[in-house]
Symmetry: none
Subunit: 217 residues, 4 copies
């Protein structure tokens, strides 16, 4: 049985293991949210131990989501900090690599959004909001270095609208991928989530930047 880990980094390690376990279970069976018992089992600890690291199951899921989001922002900010000028396709690549193609990202984002009415502690929710806001402002500001935006706020808004599209479109057309049994209708409308996402984001940024974007492959 796992024994006390005194140090802060040990605690951090355990925390990450729990998040890993949750995400891994989710990927294994995307149809259902893993139970606390399952997460604990997968992480090799007892059920009660989970509550030494998270106030509630929803807090845990929110933390897992935060980690996903963080990875995206880290990549975005890192790339934005480079000298080399970014273009829209760079943005799309980041989006694909860290959001659209991370199988658990959007389901988890969707679930967490629906959970804000339930077990998320107020402080966790606020911490999340605060955190996202900070990242958004940092990344939004950096965006001005690469794109002809009037001010930092425009960058922030563009990012927010982009994320809203990413999330909203997925909830509309992407969430039933695993059980997609009515190909007739949806495939008429939209070839698939990624293509539609590309087109929608392209249109959004085109409008925001007041210029035609190359039509991409």
């Amino acid at each position: 049985m796992a024994r006390p880990l005194a140090t802060a980094e040990a605690r951090e390690l355990r925390t990450q293991q729990l998040l890993d376990a949750a995400v891994s279970l989710w990927k294994q069976n995307p149809e259902r949210v893993p139970s606390v018992a399952e997460v604990a089992g997968k992480a090799g600890v007892a059920k009660g131990t989970v509550y030494l690291y998270f106030k509630s199951k929803e807090d845990l899921l929110l933390a897992a989501h935060t980690r996903h989001v963080q990875a995206f922002f880290t990549a975005l900010i890192e790339r934005s900090s480079q000298r080399k000028r970014m273009n829209f396709d760079d943005i799309m690549h980041l989006t694909r690599d860290h959001i659209a193609s991370v199988s658990a990202f959007l389901p988890l984002a969707t679930l967490v959004a629906g959970l804000r009415h339930k077990g998320v502690t107020q402080e966790a929710a606020e911490a999340f909001d605060q955190h996202i806001a900070e990242q958004l402002m940092t990344a939004g500001g950096l965006l001005c270095r690469h794109f002809p935006l009037p001010d930092a706020t425009s960058g922030v808004r563009l990012l927010m609208r982009s994320y809203a599209l990413i999330l909203g479109l997925w909830q509309l057309v992407g969430s039933d991928q695993p059980i997609c049994t009515n190909p007739g209708v949806s495939s008429l409308l939209l070839p698939d989530y990624l293509s539609e996402l590309d087109a929608a984001l392209r249109a959004l940024w085109q409008g925001a930047l007041n210029k035609k974007l190359p039509q991409h492959a």
Copy 2:
């Protein structure tokens, strides 16, 4: 005690009463999803009766959401069928009246999106998708009569992207309205959900229609 209702319209009535009860309870206490027992009680029927009308609680919630969506589409299609030409502000009004200002709409939409991984029966999910697809195509096609869109598909896509923005933005900035305790951050970013929504949709449509829209609020 409610007693047998033989006719189809009586059944329909009972169904609506259950949805009414669910939505009403939700509005009373937006913090939590009402239990089946509460919904049954509010509708004046026995708990078991709920399961004569819906396969699961999630199916009921999905049906409630469908009704919300339906109301919007009905209004949109009705208005689109009129001779009088629509402009963007008409669209915004419809959006506000049937979506953004219907207090339970977006929370329910968000919840339902997160629930697709749980108790929704496959048939209910498919019926919902099918239904939405039909409405989208009808409404999207009619849109061409009022706006300079290349084809019906463009109308459908514009509607989908609009809805994605409506939903995604709400999940980003609007969902914590009732517990909004961090005014500092979010109000810096965004005055409020409705204003940001207006701006975002305006930009989206502007891009899609290739023309400047009047800047009015």
Copy 3:
């Protein structure tokens, strides 16, 4: 009026159909007591109709059991009324043919015994007791014509003890026939229900009649 008679026998017919349905379903699946819905369905009537013929499900089961018991007593009394002298083997034959080999008899008897604490209406229970008592006394009295018993009461008691053995032994060793998975133990103890029953009844009657009975199987 001619109607009442026709109605009465129609009613009787329907009653028998319901009992037939119940017993037939029981035989089909001896693991479970058929539900009222199943009985009704099998008999081709609606659920509610069952309650026009029986006050409760338990009354129905009791009636089905009564019919089984009646068949035995009818045969016993009929045979006892014949001139031809009976011996113990005749009794055993009757027992086998009308009780031990009627697949639903003993399960039903056992169930009904356990149900007397539940849904059986008082009047149905009393009617059953009364009926059994009458049959017992008749049959017990006739027994004296064939066996050297001191009085009619002895005949009644012999019958009761015989039935107690039939029922009690079945509950001890016979009821798990379908799921008999521990052959080691029980087959050591008792070859099978019928053999043990034969031996036990033989001993009982031997004692009651104060004479050795031929040892035949």
Copy 4:
């Protein structure tokens, strides 16, 4: 609130408390089988806890019955192991004290017999059968020390037949004691269950032992 009990004996204690609660409720109101919620309440535990100890309500009832049976066998085996020779009256005393006069014994035995078709898990049923078989063989063997029986098997059979009589007679004449409203009939037939039981067992043992038993007080 009752809290975790780690040790095996604590678990055993909790198990016994649940059985106590069930039997006690049964005695309080012999007309109905207590619900799981009632049993849990009486035992001071939560409903869900019952299912940590028993797979189903029927398993619980079977366990309660097993305990009754066990008490009888323990007394019988203990007495049989003593040097002092037993006679039939000793057997009757044991029977009376541990079976016929334990108010819940026979109703429970009857109920459990009727329940084997329902919620009893196969393993519980087999465990019960196995257990009974072991006790029977032990006690049956010991019986030879006190009574002139040809072999151990005879002892086992005598016990089984005795128990069959005890149970069967009770189901015939004893089960309606609490609601005994037809004194006319049954009292004519049988003064009461205990007397008839005494007479019937006496006859059975007399036959088995090939000797007249004293006519008892």
